[in-house]
Symmetry: C2
Subunit: 92 residues, 2 copies
């Protein structure tokens, strides 16, 4: 869970996620959308991978990245625990 939140804490990484929502992309294709060196993008992708937010698959020369949305389910669950908390004692 900590890796997940850490991964989401960076704007570039969130933008990457948005890109991958549209379609799977290669590392280079992703990098083209940013003003950042390829190694930096590679590093961000690595963090997203460790957080299991993205999955990578090599296809010959290219490595394709895609979103693993199941993690978001857990996240939504985490946030939903705060819904309507009646502050401990549960009234009456």
């Amino acid at each position: 869970m900590n890796d997940t939140f850490k991964a989401l804490a960076d704007g570039t990484r969130r933008q990457i996620i948005q890109l991958l929502k549209e379609k799977d992309m290669t590392a280079g294709e992703i990098a083209e959308h940013f003003n950042i060196s390829k190694p930096s993008i590679s590093h961000h992708l690595n963090l997203l991978k460790r957080a299991e937010i993205v999955i990578d698959e090599r296809k010959g020369q290219f490595i394709y990245y895609s979103l693993n949305t199941t993690v978001f389910q857990d996240l939504v669950g985490w946030f939903l625990q705060f819904k309507d908390g009646t502050k401990g004692g549960e009234e009456k």
Copy 2:
């Protein structure tokens, strides 16, 4: 949004949120739950405040902190945008 994700990226802050889910607490009361100095806790509370995740209200000598769950609504919305994305072209 960035402040929000940044605020959630720290384990101590997430624990504070969990505490406040149970009941409103003073800064000192919160600090008792951690092995961290009060100024550090104060700093974390400040970040949570700027992210509008918590609200503070002075009551005489004490300052009470409480959760503002409306922000979590937005967060859930953010995550839900990834639900079942048919990858751009929409099937067919």
